[in-house]
């Protein structure tokens, strides 16, 4: 588990100006390769990077609200403090990406690979993370209020200090190595079944609804 210090060995960034592509609000860069480019702090609202290759791309503090990263490869990308509200990241690969402090409110991360991603303090309120792979992700102090994590894999993830108000956790898989917020641990243990040694799934309770939500903590 990460100690919060990003341990990825970064390659020297490629300045955006040296590439032939134009990066601007709403641009369509589907399928392009911008690996290693430095696009930090840029205004890129609504840009399309669907199927793009963005390995180790630097998008730190960029405005990417409403952008599409459908099926993009963002492995080890730096998206720290980026603004990704309402962005579509379905099927994207974000393994070991730095999303610390990113704003992902209402983002769609269905079936995304976030294994080993750094989401410390990220705001995922209302985000859709159905079937996402969050194994060994750092979710400490992340806001997951109202997020939908049905069938997500949280094995080995660290959620210490995370906020889970109204979070949908039906059929979430987790493991002995998963660290839950202190105020949620007992409830989650109580509503989970054992799949195999050290592997658990949170029950989908109730016949008509999948609404397995943790009650808000007492104020």
């Amino acid at each position: 588990m990460s100690d919060g210090i990003h341990a990825v060995a970064w390659k020297p960034p490629v300045p955006a100006e040296s590439t032939s592509e134009k990066y601007f609000h709403g641009a369509d860069l589907g399928g392009k390769d911008a690996s290693g480019a430095d696009l930090s702090d840029k205004g890129l609202r609504g840009i399309s990077f669907s199927n793009a290759t963005l390995i180790e791309t630097i998008l730190r503090t960029a405005d990417l609200s409403g952008a599409s990263f459908s099926s993009a490869d963002l492995s080890r990308a730096d998206l720290g403090m980026a603004f990704l509200s309402g962005a579509f990241l379905g099927w994207a690969k974000l393994s070991e990406a730095d999303l610390n402090g990113a704003n992902l409110r209402g983002a769609d991360l269905r079936e995304a690979n976030l294994a080993g991603a750094f989401l410390n303090g990220a705001d995922l309120s209302g985000a859709f993370l159905g079937d996402a792979d969050l194994q060994n992700a750092d979710l400490r102090r992340a806001r997951l209020d109202g997020a939908d994590l049905r069938e997500a894999n949280l094995a080995g993830a660290n959620l210490e200090g995370a906020s889970l108000r109204g979070t949908l956790l039906a059929e979430v898989r987790w493991s002995d190595g998963t660290r839950w917020p202190g105020d949620a641990e007992e409830a989650i243990n109580g509503m989970s079944r054992t799949e195999s040694s050290g592997v658990f799934t949170i029950n989908d309770q109730g016949l008509a609804s999948a609404d397995i939500r943790l009650p808000p903590p007492l104020e």
């Binding site: 390995i55 099927w91 039906a170 059929e171």
Partner: protein, 264 residues
Amino acid sequence: MTGLKTCFVVISDSVDDSFEDLVLSIETFCPGADIAWYNSGRRRETPFALERVVPDRPLSRWKTTPAFFDVFEWSGGRDYDCVVNVETDLAFIKPGFLGFVESQLRDVDYLATGLRYRVPRISMWPPYRTLGEEREELTSMLGIDHLNRAFGAVQVFGRSYISALLHSDRYPAVRAFVERNQRPGRSNSLQELILPSLADSLGVRSRPYPDQLTTLNRFRPYQSGLDLEAARSTADAFFLNPIRRSATDPVRGAVKELVRSKNV
């Protein structure tokens, strides 16, 4: 070389460079196996002197489930120990797959990537969600109370799976269900649901590929050079999927080189 009689079936509507890359990679890294083509397009000539699955028919991208049942019926008249479906977005990258399959088939009859048992009814997974009201009809027809799921590429169907299916009393109803599903608005990628579920229905043994292979055989994103490196050093990783079809894609180029260097 193993004692296993294996047939790879390429289900494809076109024959292009990536088709050739796939065939060459199988011939190189899985020597001795047969390769057959299920033509889901309109081309007439069979490429590379491959065997051809007959009958076949044109099928659209997300509606290829009938091809599997045509393949099962075609292979039923042959003496294969197993049939493996492959797509032209993938390629084999090192030897050992046939030995791996042989060892797996000692105690299972069906192998698939990401095989999960009992899809929860709250699942948003598209093949399950788009099945809609037909879910209950399907489980009832299969005589089970649940459905399973798996990724569709490189499923291994052992002789017992195919034989049990073709001799099952349920088979006519299953085929009819698959045909009805071809209508517009019905489930997409039904094969990713019905084929793993059939394993339970038929009472044959099933197993997922090892967990570490799940990211090397996936829907998207396309595999990168880093992924290829990872695959080469990962135990039991013998193929990579998906690879961009462009001849200029560096991963495709690297795979071609692996094949070429093995054949030198």
